[in-house]
Symmetry: C2
Subunit: 333 residues, 2 copies
């Protein structure tokens, strides 16, 4: 294992320390228990947005703390759910008096820990709502999941719900918007090569030299099938078709197309995937109105990508375009 | 070799086709000869900015075409200089009547081809100036270079000179600003693992399982030395010290600190490098006023990073902060 790290056990702490030093205008990093909050603290009267999960998916979630997106993020250890003792103070830090929405990727540990934390916060008088993201069409149930896994669609839920909260929507409205995004987004990913968890020091799974895992999870959980190396166009179709079928998107509809890198794959390859995915949507009569291409939810150094399609309506489009200023996503501000 | 590509010979064309489809509001991709220009064409009365070089360093340069940065980019084949027959029409497309500045990384092929293209454009009455970027302190002369190589500092030259052109500076002024940035920026990189050029199909160089190359070039050219695997803090110091010494930056000065990923290294590791680099600058009494952390000039799937320090003055800081709207760098717009 070769990584740019010091002590494998200190990776998350040291990385977030550097993250806080790089973005002091946007975030403050609270070391123990570990969470990241907006530099200015909670915005009075605004609905707070909190997300979190295991580390190793950077820039998710801490990279999305800031104007128009999250108020706090709770990073667990690598690929390990954060615990309620960190989720509670993060929720308190995000609470501006109008309630807090927890955006939770559907993994058993995350769901349980956010639920416990939500109950503790409710007992203190904070109105906490939970929106579950389970956009991965690859498999029902998985290593760490009952039901579908939550993957790249989470970034879109956080952006759009964040914009709704920023414009002053009530907690009912923010919860409804987040739920609507989660209901209209689907994803699927593939891996060319596994990732290596720092404290494990060896690849999270094995792939032969000419093998690809279709439907991979963001922790290297098994997907649908292993296939031989195929051209990018064929692989893209293997991701896009199940997404489009499951979402039921068709003629005359408008979508956001998001091609995400798993961490070790060059941007040039992601655009090759984007090209074919956009062509396939066009063949279905679907209009791509917005795009996102890059490393937004990763799996350490895994090589591969995921494709995400979000069905847009006019309001979701407007909220997507609204200003955002976070370390990893920024426009209009 | 496992990559998300179709025909290895079509990688650059197909990737840029996808790039154009993803960002139709920002860029237009001209297929033959291949160059990328602003979607709206040249801005009348504004100094044009053109850069280019071999592909494989995405998002550089095409990702920086747009408001407040480049007017056109000329991608060559992977790790291969673009030819004058593409640089000339790109320069024409960027010419709003106020002249065009070529920003050229110091590699022999790039320098020669931009020089030839510049002469051809001058013969047509375009006032073409050339600013050379040679910020890599690792080695004097290298595989493809006489003198120092141009690396990550190029991104900063393009951003700041682009802002000067956008505010309406004359060609003399834009050339002077670009030259000032180039004179005040220094970089050095390292590799943990090599990259694989698609049409070659094998790693560009060999590194043993516990070896690191300090001072690596962005095409895998040899650096200063190979060392055993060391903690990130020690490796960061091995990059930062030569930079700080060469730049002569010290007590009371202000800088921009840029930690760049080579393509295959997770963001979390880049922040660990940032942390130590910022600490080392603080120990020298240098104030880090701005940061940039991420994959901005890559080497395909190479694992590693580079550190760049730019000495700031008030004008450079103001131009850095000015609005920019390109596929890969965006704020304030």
């Amino acid at each position: 294992m070769k990584k740019l790290i010091n002590d494998p056990k200190a990776v998350v702490d040291e990385s977030l320390e550097g993250f806080g030093m790089a973005h002091p205008d946007l975030v403050s990093v609270h070391p123990d228990p570990l969470f990241v909050a907006r530099a200015g603290g909670a915005v009075p009267g605004k609905v707070g947005l909190v997300s979190g999960g295991g580390s190793g998916h950077e820039p998710l979630h801490a990279g999305y703390v800031g104007l128009g997106m999250l108020d706090a993020a709770v990073p667990g250890a690598v690929f390990t759910s954060p615990t309620p003792d960190a989720i509670v103070p993060a929720t308190q830090a995000a609470d501006g008096g109008a309630g807090v929405v927890h955006i939770v990727k559907n993994y058993t540990g995350d769901v349980l820990n956010f639920e416990t934390a939500g109950e503790l916060c409710a007992a203190e008088g904070i109105d906490v709502r939970t929106v579950l993201v389970n956009d991965d069409v690859a498999v029902e149930d998985s290593l760490y999941t009952a039901g579908r896994r939550g993957v790249a669609g989470t970034v879109l839920v956080e952006k759009i719900a964040g914009a709704a909260a920023e414009r002053g929507d009530s907690i009912d409205a923010v919860e409804a918007i987040a739920t609507r995004v989660a209901a209209n987004v689907r994803s699927m990913g593939l891996a060319l090569a596994p990732c290596t968890v720092p404290h494990a020091g060896r690849p999270s799974f094995e792939l032969a030299g000419d093998e690809i895992e279709i439907g991979i999870g963001i922790h290297g959980e098994p997907g649908r099938q292993r296939v031989g190396l195929e051209p990018a166009d064929a692989l893209t179709e293997a991701l896009l078709s199940p997404i489009a079928e499951d979402l039921g998107v068709g003629e005359g509809e408008q979508v956001l197309l998001f091609v995400n890198g798993m961490g070790g794959t060059p941007l040039a390859e992601l655009y090759i995937v984007y090209r074919r995915a956009a062509q396939l949507l066009a063949e279905r009569g679907v209009a791509v109105r917005r795009s996102l291409v890059g490393n937004y939810i990763t799996s350490l150094d895994m090589q591969g990508c995921s494709v995400t399609v979000l069905r847009l309506d006019d309001e979701l489009l407007e909220l997507w375009d609204a200003p955002v200023h976070t370390p990893a996503l920024r426009w209009g501000a």
